[in-house]
Symmetry: C2
Subunit: 223 residues, 2 copies
């Protein structure tokens, strides 16, 4: 029963991408907690977690390539495997962005937390919700759920834009705190990029389920 075996392998690939996603979600949560609490231990955790993400990515890619080479899948199965390869790349980049946030946090680790005009926690929650929703759409093969992620992206773009403006003004009035404010601007951009990766994942799910490419049909705001 080779086809049944193949379907089992596809199910295993799905399990693996969800396990990979759990690592990326952990990275996002830990790096923002590390920033908010100035926690060097959590930064260390993000670094260790990054190694696990990189191994998981390589393993997943190899499994996907093997399936393509040996099973020569057609139509929806081919699209699923290609979507997994792309989603895998986006999850790994979420890990990279989280590492960047942890690096920014280490630069500030000995400084007290100060009140800045930016809602980092709110932006993290928005990005995390987008990732969760994109994964739900993958789990359920549901293009409609995936579409809801695309709408959420506007909200975090708006938050990033406002934070950038407010922090730029803040720096002009508080030059002694400019290094802090600069790091916050960069972290805001990291979170906005993480949300972009969640959007890419949602678009890959739509491509898999519907067979149509939604990229560039909507205007993605690049900041």
């Amino acid at each position: 029963m080779p086809r049944i075996h193949f379907q089992q392998q596809l199910a295993e690939l799905k399990d693996k991408i969800l396990a990979m996603a759990a690592l990326s979600q952990q990275a996002l949560d830990a790096c923002v907690d590390a920033y908010l609490q100035r926690d060097a231990g959590l930064c260390e955790f993000v670094r260790d977690n990054e190694k696990a993400i990189n191994s998981a990515q390589r393993e997943l890619d190899e499994m996907a390539y093997d399936l393509l080479a040996k099973e020569q899948p057609m139509a929806i199965d081919l699209r699923f495997i290609l979507a997994v390869i792309k989603i895998n790349g986006d999850l790994e980049r979420i890990g990279d962005q989280s590492m960047s946030i942890a690096a920014r946090t280490m630069d500030l680790i000995d400084c007290d937390s100060i009140d800045l005009p930016i809602d980092i926690d709110g932006m993290r929650n928005c990005a995390a919700l987008m990732i969760r929703t994109a994964l739900q759409s993958l789990l359920d093969a549901d293009a409609q759920i995936a579409e809801s992620v695309l709408a959420m992206d506007d909200e975090i773009d708006r938050m990033n834009r406002i934070a950038h403006e407010d922090l730029t003004k803040f720096i002009q009035g508080h030059s002694a705190l400019s290094a802090h404010a600069l790091q916050a601007i960069i972290i805001s951009r990291n979170l906005e990029r993480i949300a972009d990766h969640a959007t890419n994942i949602a678009m890959d799910v739509i491509f898999w389920v519907r067979g149509s490419d939604v990229r560039h049909q909507l205007s993605v705001a690049i900041d």
Copy 2:
């Protein structure tokens, strides 16, 4: 002669990815010239060019998917097509980063150029050389040329780090010019990200030619 036809299609895919790359290279050159010369017309060009990049990306992806579905290639041909799909994504992201530089430039379009402690032109030349070299390695199927790109990435990371430090200090002494300096920090990061995409392209060429995955075997500095 279906195999000959298939080889022709692979050659066509290579031509298409090089044409796509030319658009991304143009975007990088134009956005940095736009910034250095405060040229709104060049920003407009980058925006138009971005539409061409997005169409080219979609067309290339569709051709690659069709080849995978219809020809069911094995081994090195399969790896080549998968590499093209990934390189295509990286070239499109170079376009995105160039759009971001054009957007930052438009924010400053009515302001005179000021002397800032950053070598944007030098960083652009470094990133452009990395892209050119990565494409050369693709054209020649030469993993050794591709490896030379990985070494160049350290140099632009260093330039970005120094620019970040120098501009942070600059802001502390010149708070009235902080908005200018902030944009320069963000553009510096955009250029460093563009170089990362060139590195990704080089790694995909190595994967194609050698069949081994070099990712994460070297420690990529994430800033």
